[in-house]
């Protein structure tokens, strides 16, 4: 630490003062060194040598202002040339074009499905009260919209889903960290936790109703039981996937204990953790719909699940289909608008996103 104050000056000048810098013929020599050092690869290396020298020479003259001595400048220039030749070229497509090219194929698929549906309606594959047309569904959506109730149904469900999800993240993260880090806990509840993921969360609804009655608590209990295991499991597998190299490197620079968790373990586990969060959201949303379908009480407020159930009671098929479409749209929308961009950003910044 004592050297910190004194070194910046001397280090900046060092390349020039260094009497032992490599000889002036550094770049030609290194080319031969490459050939002699790796006889097997020398033939393949040879073509790369000429451009390497050319680039090195070019940048050496360009960088001569920074490296005063000719010898130091030569090594610096050689290095600059190697760096320039070997660095990945990062180019990004224009945002709009990516969006259009991504959105087009699914749009086509949707149009085809709508077309087939319309055909089935047209040829009366089922009576109209069982299979309404896309237009009928649109009309019943429009009617709810004009009544001014549609957005409040969506909002009721989305706010419940969001609240349940946030609580699940808080619990699932702590639980996941403990399971990942404490051997005894992992042995005890690790298998149960991953087994729970395959339990459909509707199965919790009867139990929750017995415990909490027809209340918000029942709905949130089902959401938590559905989402917490996948979030915790995501974090556990994120931690398991961390290359031991990062942990070793972290320890050698002094990241141990909680510092290590914060600066190495958590950021390194982020890709797996994000995948867990994404799945956790999907599970929250599904569990919420299952709960809303069954937990139906007038004072609870009407969410999309309840809307769906009302449609069934009235035997109004276009209402039912409209509710299904809304549920699907919200689920996909949140995934596309929130999770996908975050995940893409994290993966891209780590060079983990393979460009198609």
């Amino acid at each position: 630490m004592a050297s910190t104050e004194t070194t910046p000056q001397s280090a900046a000048e060092a390349p020039g003062e260094d009497p032992t810098g490599p000889a002036a013929d550094a770049d030609t020599d290194s080319a031969t060194a490459g050939a002699t050092d790796a006889p097997a690869g020398s033939a393949a290396d040879a073509p790369a040598t000429a451009p390497a020298e050319a680039a090195a020479g070019a940048s050496a003259t360009g960088a001569s202002g920074t490296g005063p001595g000719p010898a130091a400048g030569d090594l610096a220039g050689l290095e600059a040339g190697l760096d320039a030749l070997d660095s990945a070229v990062v180019s990004r497509q224009p945002w709009l074009r990516t969006a259009v090219s991504k959105a087009f194929p699914p749009l086509v698929a949707v149009v085809i499905v709508l077309g087939l549906w319309q055909l089935a309606y047209h040829f009366q594959l089922k009576p109209h009260y069982l299979l309404p047309s896309p237009l009928d569904v649109y009309r019943s959506l429009r009617q709810k919209w004009l009544e001014g109730t549609l957005l409040s149904f969506v909002w009721t469900s989305v706010s419940r889903g969001a609240l349940g999800f946030v609580a699940s993240v808080a619990i699932g993260t702590v639980l996941g960290l403990i399971v990942a880090q404490v051997k005894a806990v992992r042995a005890a509840i690790g298998p149960i936790l991953s087994g729970l993921q395959s339990l459909p969360s509707v199965a919790w609804v009867p139990a929750a109703i017995i415990w909490f009655g027809l209340s918000d608590a029942t709905i949130y209990a089902v959401v938590l039981l559905g989402a917490v295991p996948s979030i915790a499991n995501g974090l556990v597998s994120g931690v398991d996937q961390i290359s031991p190299l990062y942990l070793r490197a972290g320890r050698t620079i002094g990241a141990t204990g909680l510092t290590g968790v914060r600066h190495v373990l958590l950021p390194a586990a982020l890709p797996g953790y994000l995948a867990g969060l994404k799945q956790g959201w999907a599970f929250s949303w599904r569990s919420l719909m299952a709960a809303e379908l069954i937990v139906n009480a007038p004072d609870l407020g009407t969410g999309l699940g309840q809307l769906l159930e009302q449609g069934r009671e009235l035997q109004d098929m276009s209402w039912v289909l409209a509710a299904i479409l809304l549920i699907l749209t919200v689920g996909i929308g949140i995934e596309l608008l929130i999770f996908a961009p975050i995940e893409r950003r994290v993966l891209r910044s780590r060079g983990l996103l393979v460009k198609s």
Partner: protein, 274 residues
């Protein structure tokens, strides 16, 4: 013309009490349960003097990485002791081991932060270290945007950020192409000399460099220590008196390399005879 002097392996434990950057004292290491043990290292003694550059040479699997891990404190020896009076050594691997979620500059700043450097000074210090490894513009670059050689230089800067007096290097250039490796040899020699010429004794930088490449060892080291395999023992040491700057193709380097290679092959051959 003598470019090298031979030292007996026993030289290290003749009670040398002078100052040292690392003292590996009768260290043994075995893995596995009692009964089915694998003796990887057997009674190894090596002293690294302050400012000294030592290369540890040996065939693959002879326990070089294990020994370096012991010196770094990542694992405990089964017997013997290891002292590193200058504090926790810095360690560099064959893989750069930079954190991909941080930029090059932030990787270095994390090491500075964990060393206790105040926030206000970190940025300047990181820029200085990047300049030392001649990567002035790389502060904001992501790890995956850098070439192999650049990554190892950032890793070197991060290791230097620990301001440790002992730098442990585990085949740091083995995965690089020959041209880049050659340049990094020059860089490492330059940085090592720069640190040791900076005046104060506290600024001394000792290097313990592991490789299986004989020429690389002779190109870099002041002293080459040859390890035998299964179990790893110090087979022989050479003092390398060829003046720096050396080139890997120098005839003096080649001559000593031939001699060491002969010895190394002898060690390997013993295992084929049973």
């Amino acid at each position: 013309m003598t470019t090298s002097t031979l030292t007996k392996p026993a030289a290290a434990d003749t009670g040398n009490t002078g100052p040292h950057a690392a003292r590996i004292h009768h260290v043994s290491k075995s893995f596995g349960r009692p009964g089915a043990q694998q003796h990887v290292l057997d009674d190894i003694s090596i002293d690294v003097a302050p400012g000294e550059f030592v290369c540890l040479l040996g065939a693959s699997g002879c326990g070089k990485s294990t020994l370096l891990g012991l010196v770094a404190g990542l694992d405990k020896p089964s017997a013997g002791s290891i002292e590193t009076p200058g504090g926790r050594p810095a360690l560099m691997f064959q893989e750069h081991a930079l954190f991909p979620w941080l930029t090059a500059g932030r990787n270095i700043e994390l090491a500075l932060r964990l060393r206790g450097v105040p926030r206000a000074e970190r940025r300047t210090e990181a820029e200085r270290l990047l300049e030392l490894v001649r990567l002035k513009g790389a502060y904001g670059k992501r790890v995956h945007e850098l070439s192999g050689g650049m990554r190892q230089r950032v890793a070197m800067a991060r290791a230097l950020a620990q301001d440790s007096q002992l730098l442990l290097m585990d085949e740091p250039f083995a995965a690089l192409d020959a041209i880049t490796r050659d340049v990094l040899h020059d860089e490492l020699t330059r940085i090592w000399q720069t640190q040791n010429n900076s005046g104060s004794a506290a600024g001394n930088l000792s290097v313990l460099f592991v490789t299986h490449n004989v020429r690389e060892a002779v190109r870099l080291a002041e002293r080459v220590v040859l390890l035998s395999s299964r179990p790893g023992r110090v087979a022989r040491e050479w003092q390398v008196d060829i003046p720096q700057p050396r080139r890997i193709e120098d005839s003096a380097v080649a001559d000593l390399s031939i001699e060491i290679t002969e010895q190394l092959r002898g060690e390997i051959r013993r295992h084929g005879q049973h």
